[in-house]
Structures are given as C-alpha cells and as structure tokens.
C-alpha cells in the first residue's frame, strides 16, 4: 500500500522569526495514514499554543484532518489525548500556551489514542 504524506519537507535550519519548532509524536494509526516517522518536527507560529500544534499537524498532513479533531465542530475527538511533560493537556483550551520545554523543542508533544480496547 502506498500513501500520500511522508516526512515534512526540510526547511532552513532552525525556526524563523516569530516561529517555534516543536517535536510531535503521532499514534500508530495516524503515522501509517500519513506515512510519517515516529517523531516529526513542526514549525508553529507564536504564540505557541496547543491549537497551533494541532493546526500544524493538519496543515502538514492534510489526510489527518478529522482524525484528531472533528471536522464539523473542531473539537478534540473523544478518544484522543495530548500528553507532554508528564501532564495530560487534553482538556485545556486550545489557546493554552505550550509548556516551555515543548515550545523550545526539548520535550515531545504526544498525540495518543486513549486505551479503550478494540
């Protein structure tokens, strides 16, 4: 099976002015769908928020639109969790600033599927 997607195109070294580069890990189903590596580096505009990370995932991998947030409502899907720095960020508003270790690329922003059997 071939897929659209793959690693995001390499940009110039380091984020530009007004940008941050964050590290993102996607769940297995979505890595397969996007043909993405286990961890991807994504540029996001400042302010570096939870919503900016999810926007960047959807911009880089358009085939994932609807698989993390519902298309019709923009809400995080019920069985998706956002974890970083040992915290569950899932229930915070999308406008919430990322923890600085995530915004600075030291720590990974993890998108995971909740453990729900199946």
């Amino acid at each position: 099976m071939t897929k659209e997607g793959g690693s995001p195109p390499a940009g110039p070294a380091g984020p530009g002015k007004g940008e941050r580069e964050v590290r993102v890990s996607l769940p297995g189903h979505l890595r397969n769908l996007a043909d993405a590596p286990p961890e991807v580096a994504l540029r996001i505009p400042e302010p570096a928020t939870i919503g900016a990370v999810v926007n960047a995932i959807e911009m880089t991998y358009p085939m994932l639109r609807g698989t993390i947030r519902e298309i019709e409502t923009g809400k995080r899907r019920a069985y998706i969790r956002y974890l970083a720095c040992g915290e569950d960020l899932s229930h915070r508003p999308e406008s919430t600033p990322l923890p600085e270790p995530v915004a600075s690329g030291q720590e990974v922003f993890n998108v995971i599927g909740a453990i729900s059997g199946g």
Binding site: M1, K3, N32, M63, G66, G118
Partner: protein, 370 residues
C-alpha cells in the same frame, strides 16, 4: 479466462482475494488499512480497478480511501460529511429526541456508468453523493426531511446500509435504514417515498406502522428493478411493485431472522438467505451453517450444506458480507463473524472455505475481471 476478485472488509483491515477464474485457488493480498475497521470496499462497474474503501476507528473517526489500480495503492479522499441545514433530531433508543451526529459510512454504491459518481450511506442515517470520485460529498437531505425525526436506531446503530440503483433508470433508487424502513426515489434522490406497505413488525407499538421497520437488507436483480427482496429483523419479504407493497415469503425457512439477502446473477427468482436463530441469538439454528436458496422467488427454500460446517458452528453472516459474481455458473461468496470466507462456484450446491483466518468479516464484494 476471466478472473474473480473479492473485496473483503473486516474488523481489522481490508483484504483482496484473487482467483484465476476457476474459483478454486485464491491469493490473499492484505491487510490494507491494518487495524482500521473497514466497513465496505466497492469497485466501479464501469472501471473495476477504481475502488472505494470506508475505514473507521473509534479513535480517529471516518477516512475514505480511493484506489485507481485495483487496490495496489490507495489515497485518502474526501472526509467531510456535513448534514444539510439544521440537522435536528431523531429518536434515541429510549424514545427521546437525540441530535443527528455523523459517525461513519456503512455502504457505498458506485454508479453503474460513471466511476466518479457514487453514493454513501451514513450513520446517523443519511445519503451522501459525490460526483468527483469521493473528493467532496453532499447530502441528499430530502430523505431525512419527511420522517427522519421518527427514526430510531437498531442495535447496530441508525445506519443507511442498502443503496440500489435501477441500471436502466438511474433516477430510480432504493435505500434501507435500520430501524427506520425502506425508501424509494424516482427523481435521483430529490424526493423520497416510504415503501413499507404490508410490512409488520411486532416490536412496534403499531405493527403495521409506516416508519420503524428494521430492514436488514434489500436485494434486486438488475433485469427486474420493480421486484425487491427483503430480509427484515424477522420475516423474508418480496415486493413486485417497487416496494409499495410487500408480502412475506419466509415459507419453510427454519428461522426467518437473518441479515443478508441476495439474488442469483442470472436467475431473478433465485434468492439466498442465511437464517440465524433469533434477534438475541445471532448464530445458525442447531449449530449448522446453512445457506437457504429459493428458486421460486420465496416460499419454498432448500438448505445448502455441502462443504459448510454442520456441527458446532455459531458464527453469523452480516448484512453486507454476502456477494454473487456474474460468471456462469454463478459464484456465491460469504464471510462470517468468525473470520471464515466460503465460496461456491455452482450457485451454492457446493462450498469450499477459502484458506485463511480473517478478522470478523463485515463486507464482501465480488468483481469479475477480464
């Protein structure tokens, strides 16, 4: 020699089974979309290498895929299914109003003439159409407008699972929804008529009500588009006036509960069902897996057992997991909830299990390739 290709949707991926046409030896290709629930895979009659697949998980929702090369490669296409206007409510299991919410696509029907035109049946029940190969979808809202507020989900959900198109008149379509009923359009989906006359369902407050019958599947022979066969929650029925009136043809079946129903490719009065014990007991009577065939359009049924397990068998065959091919003799195929796939190359007289143990089989389609 023509080849046969089976498109299997399962609980954990899609599989493509290829035979050289003798329908004895099969090569299994897959899983495609491993780990995803694949509700349906269907090919275009006009371009058999154009395939559409509906994949879904609880975690990530619905993703529609398209292939241009018979399933060797796939691309993600349109994934946006928006109800037209203010969707309103249908009834929930407890009879209270419940907002309409899109969950997933159960079934495709690709146009007989155009590979880019297809219909998709949704849960919560609605009919969507794409004219650009699945890249964008529009609802045909008239279907829900008339009686949708009275629809109530069956145990599997409020799903639109059957879409039949009259090959001689594409404006005539039939759809069926669990547990709402059967519907016909004579104008390409712009308006719909409830087609449940004569049906009776004892679980309804009024057994002969217009809305609320749990239709499990409809089948039609392309040469007789006014004749329909129905497997209902209980009862096997037929209509000879495009669904306006139905009569029960369960006859001597050991149980008239079941899910799939299909018509022989070359004999419009030869019909197949797979009886299971009851609405609560979804396995064959006596632990014997028997397909029943009527050569008289119903009433008189014969058990087809040669090559099927006749002891300690407690699997089910789901509504979309039964298919016929167009070769002569007609090939018949079905998959079970236990992951077995059976094939008959003589219209059901003899069966062989296709080697392989698959996840729970949700759908089977058969294609004949030159």
């Amino acid at each position: 020699m023509p080849k046969v290709r089976l498109l299997l949707g399962t609980r954990k991926g899609a599989f493509i089974l290829n035979s050289k046409g003798n329908r004895k030896e099969w090569r299994v290709d897959g899983p495609h979309f491993g780990g995803w629930e694949v509700l349906h895979v269907q090919g275009s009659p006009a371009d058999p290498d154009r395939l559409y697949a509906s994949t879904w998980t609880d975690w990530h929702g619905q993703v529609i895929h398209r292939s241009e090369d018979g399933g060797r490669s796939w691309e993600v296409v349109g994934n946006e299914f928006a109800y037209e206007g203010e969707p309103g409510t249908h009834l929930w299991y407890d009879g209270t109003p419940h907002p309409w919410e899109f969950k997933r696509i159960w079934h495709f029907q690709v146009s007989p003439h155009d590979p880019d035109t297809l219909f998709a049946g949704a849960e919560d029940a609605a009919l969507f159409r794409s004219g650009d190969g699945g890249r964008s979808w529009r609802e045909l809202p008239a279907l829900r407008a008339q009686t949708g507020s009275e629809w109530q989900p069956g145990a599997g959900g409020l799903c639109l699972h059957t879409i039949l198109i009259d090959p001689g008149n594409p404006d005539r379509m039939y759809v069926a929804i669990s547990a709402a009923g059967a519907f016909r359009s004579d104008d390409g989906g712009a308006s719909w008529k409830v087609t449940t006359g004569g049906l009776e369902s004892e679980f309804l407050p009024k057994p002969e009500a217009e809305v609320g019958h749990c239709v499990h599947k409809l089948a039609m022979h392309p040469s007789r588009p006014d004749t329909l066969f129905m497997q209902k929650h209980w009862d096997v029925c037929r209509s000879d006036d495009a669904g306006d009136h139905w009569t029960e043809v369960s006859g001597n079946l050991p149980s008239d509960f079941g899910f799939p129903i299909a018509v022989h490719a070359h004999e419009p009065e030869t019909v197949y069902v797979v009886p299971i014990l009851s609405d609560m007991e979804h396995y064959p009577p006596d632990g014997r897996l028997r397909v029943y065939r009527s050569r008289t359009g119903g009433h008189e049924w014969e058990a087809l057992t040669r090559g099927l397990p006749q002891k300690d068998c407690f699997v089910n065959v789901l509504r979309d997991a039964f298919a016929v091919d167009t070769l002569d003799p007609c090939g018949i195929y079905f998959g079970t909830t236990g992951g077995q796939v059976y094939a008959s190359d003589d219209a059901g007289d003899h069966w062989e299990e296709i080697p392989g143990s698959f996840p729970r089989v949700l759908s089977v389609e058969a294609q004949v390739l030159p």
